[in-house]
Every structure is written in C-alpha cells, then in structure tokens.
C-alpha cells in the first residue's frame, strides 16, 4: 500500500504547484478515464457534424427521389432512403441539429434554473424555502402539455421557445433534488465554519454548497438529456414542435416505427445514433461525477 501511495505522491504533486482546484484536479482525473474521453470525442464529433451539416450533407433534406422510394443502404445512399426517397444520412444529420440542440439547451436551462432555485431555497430555509418550493409544487401540478401549448399559442411556434419551454418544465425535479441535498449539507459543520469565517451567503452557496451537490446533479442531467430529446419528438408528433420536412431523431424514430416491418433501416439508423449519444452521455456523466469527487479516486 505504501508503494502505491508513494507513486501517487509523485504523480499528484509538483513543487511550487499548489493551485489545484476542484476543476483542474477534476480535469486531470477525467483525462485518466478512457471511456469518458472516448465518449466526449464521440459527442464532440456528433456536435461538429451537426453544426457543419448544411455544408457537408450529401443531399438536401427536402430532396426527394420518389422513383427510388424506400431503398435499403447502398453506395449512393449509405443509410438508405425513406418512403419519399429522401437520403437517411442527410435527414439524420439534419435531425441531429434539432435533437442535440434541444437536448443540451433544454437540459442546460433545467440544470441552471434547478440548481440555483434548489440551492437558494434549501440554503435560505424557513419561509423563503416554503414559498419557493410551493411555486415548484404548483408548476408540477400544471399539466406540462397545457403549459407548453399555452406558450406556443401566445408566442407562436418557435424552435428556441420550444427549448426554453421544455427546460422550464424539466428544472422542477432538479430543484427538488438539489434542495434535498442542500438540506443535508446545511447540517455539516463546514457550512457553519464558512458562516463564521464571514463569507457572504452567495459565496457560501457558490463555493461550498453547489460543488457538493454535483454528483446527483450530473447524474440527473445525463438522464434529462435523453428524456428531453424524446419529449421533443412527442411534441413534434403532436404538431407542437418542428414540422416536416424538417426532422429530428425523435421524429425519425417515430415515423420509422410505423414502417418498421417493411423498412427496418428507417428505425434502425436513427435509433443507433440516439443510442450512441445516450451511451456516450452516460459514460461521460459517470466519468465527470467520479472526476469531480475527490473521494472517488481509485488509484
């Protein structure tokens, strides 16, 4: 055991280097996690292709070839074509723009509001807490479909608004999770120590509370992203989200289900891309969680 310890000492400590913060140490640890690194490369690749789609896509997303119809994968159409003869690869690439954007933006909104709201409520306690959480309860009680439909009716159909609306629904659970964490954290002496050091409330929340809620937040965020992607598909299916001929992964899958028996590639490839994304997200999320928890180091 002593040997292992010495080895670690050598790795972790450089003379005159004592700055190490949670984030830089986390980055060092994350780099050691191969699975997480591969996952982040996959996600990065998907994001870059999504951004560059209009330039690199082999066909236009509306380009139909009715003569071809639904054709299986071939040299000219790598992932086949759908019933209108549209290239699947192109449609999946265009779909990734919507799906990834909704996944990341809506989850980002949810995490941001949820963590802030939950930690504020939990840390303030008392009446503020009760008031803030009752707002959460009331929003929970509203059927979110009605909420989103109302938003769409008032502000018109708008992709960005869709993202925000989904995020505005998803943050509720996050706020509850974070508040629960904060309530247990508040019992710990180091919060009281921070108060007695004279730190302001905001500094305490930012430096002592939020970093310690990261583990469940990251796990829940990686779970939120896929559920948000599927929610978008559901809304689009109802005609509230994006409209054909535009596409998203969720929409492609839901159309693919209808013709699953005749043309299996129409569901297989969008599903494959969605699964790869979700796997990568989960691995990256686990990696991040371990990397940001100093106690979880395995070496």
């Amino acid at each position: 055991m002593l040997e292992a310890y010495k080895h670690k000492e050598k790795l972790a400590y450089k003379p005159n280097d004592c700055g190490g913060s949670l984030w830089s140490d986390g980055w060092i640890r994350l780099k050691k996690n191969k699975l997480a690194i591969v996952s982040s490369f996959i996600l990065g690749f998907l994001c870059i292709t999504a951004v560059l789609t209009p330039i690199i896509a082999p066909y236009g997303y509306e380009e139909q070839n009715l003569l071809l119809g639904a054709a299986p994968p071939s040299a000219s159409h790598w992932l086949g074509t759908d019933v209108f003869g549209r290239d699947m690869l192109t449609r999946i690439m265009y779909g990734s723009r919507v799906s990834l954007a909704v996944g990341f933006i809506a989850s980002g909104v949810a995490v941001f509001i949820g963590v802030l709201w939950g930690s504020l409520a939990g840390y303030s306690g008392g009446r503020t807490d009760a008031f803030m959480m009752r707002i959460v309860d009331i929003l929970y009680a509203l059927p979110f479909m009605i909420f989103i439909i109302l938003l769409m009716v008032i502000f018109g159909r708008n992709l960005l608004l869709l993202f925000l609306a989904i995020g505005a629904v998803e943050w509720l659970t996050m706020a509850r999770i974070v508040r629960g964490q904060v309530l247990t954290l508040k019992q710990q002496d180091f919060i009281e120590a921070a108060v007695s050091l004279g730190l302001s409330n905001w500094t305490i929340i930012r430096r002592h509370i939020i970093p310690n809620t990261l583990s469940p937040v990251i796990v829940y965020a990686t779970l939120t992203i896929p559920s948000v992607m599927l929610l978008e598909a559901f809304l689009s299916f109802l005609g509230l989200g994006i409209q054909p001929p535009q596409s998203s992964w969720g929409l492609l899958i839901s159309y693919g289900v209808e013709t699953m028996e005749e043309y299996p590639w129409l569901i297989f490839f969008p599903g494959l891309f969605l699964s790869i994304t979700l796997f990568s997200l989960n691995f990256l999320g686990d990696g991040l969680r371990d990397a940001l928890d100093p106690r979880a180091s395995k070496d």
């Binding site: 292992a4 004592c18 949670l22 710990q188 004279g198 500094t203 430096r207």
Partner: protein, 558 residues
C-alpha cells in the same frame, strides 16, 4: 479451563492496495467473571479482533487467516453459520458504541428485548415479557412498564445504553463484548453505566471483553489489559502492571497522554476584558408539527403558547484578554448553543454580547462580516467541518483572500506559513480532507480558524472525537498557537480533565445556566456546588488503586 481461549488469531483485510494486517497473532485467555480490556487507538484492530470471534467482520475484504478461539470447548472460528448463530446474542452478547444507531428506531424497546428470548430460548411471548420487565428493572430503567413500550428516540443516550445492556443480558450470556460502551456518553452517565456493568458482572459471573481507546475508563474495571497497536498486542498484563510498571514505550506514551493536572499558568493575564456576556438567553422552539391539530386549535384559543427549550438561560460572564476560559457541562447543558450564540451563528432571544466594548447584537450584516475576522470557531467533528471538495490550500486560502489579508501573488507564502504553524508537511496543500486522519483534519480546521489572526477563538469540543495520543498533540498545538498569536480562547468540553489542563478559569454549565464559575485550581480543590462535585467524582481516574478506593467509598455510601 478458561471460558475463552484465543490463540494466534490473525485477520487480514484484502484491499485493492494490498493486504492490511488488522490483527496479527493475538492470543489471550479469559475466565468466568473476568474482565479483559483491549486498549488501543482507532485502527489498532481492537474491534476487529473481538468481532472476528463472532464472524461479524465484513467478508470480503476481511479474512480470518489463522488462529483458534476455543469457547466452551468448541472453536468459534470453524463453526458453521447456523451453530454460530446459536452462540451470537445467546452465549456471547455485544454492546455497541452508539446506542442510538444500534437500536431499531421502528420497534419499541420491549419488542427488541423479547426478540432474542423468543428466538434463542423458545419462550412464549408472555413469559418473555415478564423476563424483559425484570431485566429492565435490573438495568435501572425506572418504571419498566413504561420503558417497555418506549421507542428508542424517546430515551436519553444513557437510557438507550441501559436498554442495550438489558438486551445483551436477557439471554444470560457467558461472555459480554463491550465495544466502547461509554464513549458516546457524558462523564456522569459513563460512571453510572460502568458501575452497572460491574454490578451485573458480579451477579451473573459474566466474562467481559471491554474495548476502549481510553486507559482511564478501563482502570477501574479491567483485570487484565491488552494494549494493541497496528494489529499487534504490544503489551499484555494484569491491570496494575500495565499502569504502574509499563514495559513498552507505547504504553508509556498512552499513559502520559492522558491529560493530568494543570498546565503552567501564565502569571500575567491582562485585566482588560475582551468579551463580556450579559444575561444571554437563547430559546429553541420545540419542534411541533406545523399542520397538527394544535394549529387549528390556535385559531380558537389565542392564549395557548408555543413551547421552548431554554438552551441558554440567562448567562453572564467576562473573558479577559489572553485567557483560556473553559466551559464544562454535559450534553444538553447548552454549552455549544452558548458558543454559537456568541459567534452570532444563531440568533439570540435576549442579553448583550460586548466584544472589545462593542455590542455584537443587532450589528448590520456588513459590520458582522468584518467582526467575524476577529472571532473564529473550531468545531468538534473534523470529518464534517471541512469541505470535502476543497483542497487544503483552498480551505486555508479562502478566509485570507476573502478578507483581503493576502493577495493572489503572496497567498502561497501565507498558506505555507499556516501549514507550518499547524505542523503539517507542505505537501498537504494539494490534498483533499479525506486523505487525512482525524487529528490531521483537526489541524487543518485549526489552521482555517487562525488564518485571519483572530483575537478570540471558540473551540467547541475540538478533541472529543480524537484518540488519546492525538488528543494530547492537538491540545499542545492549541496551547502553543494561542500563546504564539496571543489569542483569547473559550474552550468548550464535556471532559473536565481536558479543561483542567488548558483553562485558566472554568464555568460549569447545567440546564442553560452557569452553576459555578471559578479559577481552575479552585474548582478542583474546593468546588462549592453539589453538581460540580458530582462531575468531578465521575471523572475516571487513570489509576487503578485510586479508582478501587473511590469505588469502595461510593459503594460504602450507598
């Protein structure tokens, strides 16, 4: 033939980092009615040794590698699980350290008591209940009928431990393993529980293995002592030999780290009053369900009042500059609430606090923040007082940077000075709290408290979670630092011998009030109040002869 004969017991823990020898080649013999104390610091293997007898260690990673444990003619280590279960709780019973977490909160005391009799002795429920009531009576749970239907949380810590003892005794075991049974308890309760264990031992001729980190506690109860360190039995012998003729260096060190006597008092304490507390009152509302029937009644009857616990009930005292002021009391006496109220960590219900002639009550929040620089706190539990996600460097740098006592260019120098001050290697800067032991963590917490060079520090039981030897080191550190930086300290503790060692004056607290306040030497030589005398009488003396004498006088009186 002896009741229990352990030979060459070796237990290893197989972890990712290799094999840790928890117990190495331990041998001892124990007779009916005899008490063996196993003493050692945390991690010395004292608990593992006794738990492995009943196969209660986690396996894996634990593994009993070798040895024999002959109990009543059969080897415990080779028994099948079914046979072992007949011995567990039946012939060998265990009393754990923390009664609250060893009792099932969802079952009444009575229910938990009769369970082993029904299971082991195959008795009927009514007969089991009759037995349970008699044993509850014996362990001094007054009004056994009432306590029988009590849930664990309705009892105090001492009463819970009594219930645990009742539970251990109900099957009339031949061997009782007590794993630090009094560590979580107050001094006076500790004395009562130990007396109870002795009484029961005499009556039923039970053999006892008494595990403790505190040589002082075992002085009066043990016949034989094993001193353990790093899994090895360093020294084995009868109690008198261990105390009066210790052979090994380690035993001597253990004995010398028991705080005894008083430090050399400074002759020149200044007359200037640094902190003046005047008639301080702190009430906590009793936790009532907000939406209970009571709430509805309130609408009708406006005269019904909320209930309060008076944690601090009209306390006044002065602390002079440069002084170490001790506050002693049992749990629930309000000593911690007093500290937190003075530091304004909780609001107060009345009274004044003057710090250098400045009233701290009703300060504006900006003034409060600048006051905090001058008053700091050291917390009891070093495991929860450090942010697990901040490196030592960040923890120590935070107060300095926040109060602009250092800039980002010279912060490293400042932090390294602090780390040197608290006696840690500079390499520690980059590590996280979980990589340190309890004592080292407490050093870091002390470093954080003294970072802003405060004039006044409140130390709330800073050593009660630590081993004796570490305790001595930390006390030494606190003493040195208060002298070096010319700090004034309020030292809160339940342990009179620790306070005696440090403090210039002592205030004894009970039920939120100061019972007696005097110079340390006067408290110990001529205590005025009955309660103070009671507290003094309950301190375990790390001296078997004196302890025997005292026990005899106590027995004689009663």
């Amino acid at each position: 033939m002896s009741l229990l004969l352990v030979e060459g017991l070796t237990v290893n823990f197989h972890s990712r980092n290799g094999i840790i020898k928890a117990v190495n080649n331990l041998s001892f013999a124990l007779d009916y009615g005899e008490t063996l104390a196993i003493v050692g610091e945390s991690g010395s293997g004292k608990s593992v040794a006794s738990y492995s007898l009943l196969d209660l260690i986690p396996k894996p990673p634990g593994k009993i590698e070798a040895g024999k444990a002959i109990f009543n003619g059969s080897d415990l280590l080779t028994l099948k699980l079914g046979d072992l279960q007949k011995i567990r709780g039946n012939e060998i019973a265990i009393i754990f350290q923390d009664p609250m977490s060893s009792l099932n909160p969802y079952l009444t005391i009575g229910e938990q008591l009769i369970e082993p009799i029904i299971y082991h002795k195959k008795k009927s429920r009514t007969e089991a209940k009759r037995l349970a009531l008699s044993i509850l009576n014996e362990v001094g749970l007054n009004g056994p009928e009432n306590n029988f239907y009590c849930f664990p949380h309705e009892l105090s810590g001492g009463m819970q431990q009594r219930a645990m003892i009742a539970m251990a005794l109900i099957t009339k075991p031949k061997l009782l393993i007590c794993d630090e049974p009094t560590t979580a308890l107050d001094v006076t309760t500790q004395a009562q529980i130990i007396r109870l264990i002795q009484k029961i031992q005499k009556k039923y001729k039970i053999a006892i293995i008494f595990i403790s980190h505190d040589l002082g506690v075992v002085a009066g109860i043990a016949d034989k002592i094993i001193v353990m360190k790093d899994g090895e039995a360093i020294e084995t012998g009868i109690t008198y030999d261990i105390f009066y003729r210790p052979k090994t260096q380690y035993t001597k060190k253990l004995l010398s780290s028991i705080p005894r006597g008083e430090k050399e008092k400074k002759t020149s304490t200044s007359k200037e009053v640094l902190l003046r507390v005047n008639n301080l009152v702190k009430h906590y509302p009793v936790n009532q369900n907000k939406f209970s029937w009571q709430t509805f009644k309130l609408f009708n009857a406006k005269n019904s009042r909320k209930k309060y616990i008076k944690a601090v009930d009209g306390v006044s005292f002065n602390i002079k500059r440069g002084e170490i002021f001790g506050i002693v009391g049992e749990s629930g006496s309000g000593k911690s609430s007093l500290g937190k109220t003075i530091l304004q960590l909780t609001s107060l219900n009345g009274g004044q606090i003057y710090f250098s002639d400045k009233n701290l009550v009703n300060l504006r929040s900006s003034e409060k923040i600048s006051m905090r620089k001058h008053m700091q706190m050291i917390f009891q539990d070093p495991y929860s007082s450090l942010n697990p996600r901040m490196t030592v460097f960040d923890t120590l740098a935070e107060p300095l940077l926040y109060h602009s006592l250092a800039s980002s260019s010279n912060i490293q120098k400042h932090v390294f000075n602090l780390i040197d001050d608290i006696g840690l290697p500079r390499v520690s800067a980059k590590k996280y709290p979980h990589e340190f032991s309890g004592g080292q963590r407490q050093r870091i917490a002390i470093g954080r408290a003294i970072a802003t060079k405060p004039e006044f520090i409140i130390a709330d039981e800073p050593v009660s979670a630590l081993d004796v030897t570490v305790q001595a080191q930390i006390l030494e550190l606190i003493l040195n630092l208060t002298e070096k930086h010319n700090m004034t300290m309020m030292f809160i503790s339940h342990d009179l011998s620790v306070v005696r060692y440090l403090a210039d004056r002592i205030a004894v607290m009970r039920h939120g009030k100061i019972v007696e306040l005097s110079e340390t030497s006067k408290i110990f030589s001529s205590a005025q109040e009955k309660y103070t005398k009671e507290l003094l009488g309950a301190i375990p003396l790390a001296d078997p002869k004196k302890e025997k004498e005292r026990q005899n006088t106590i027995m004689g009186i009663r």
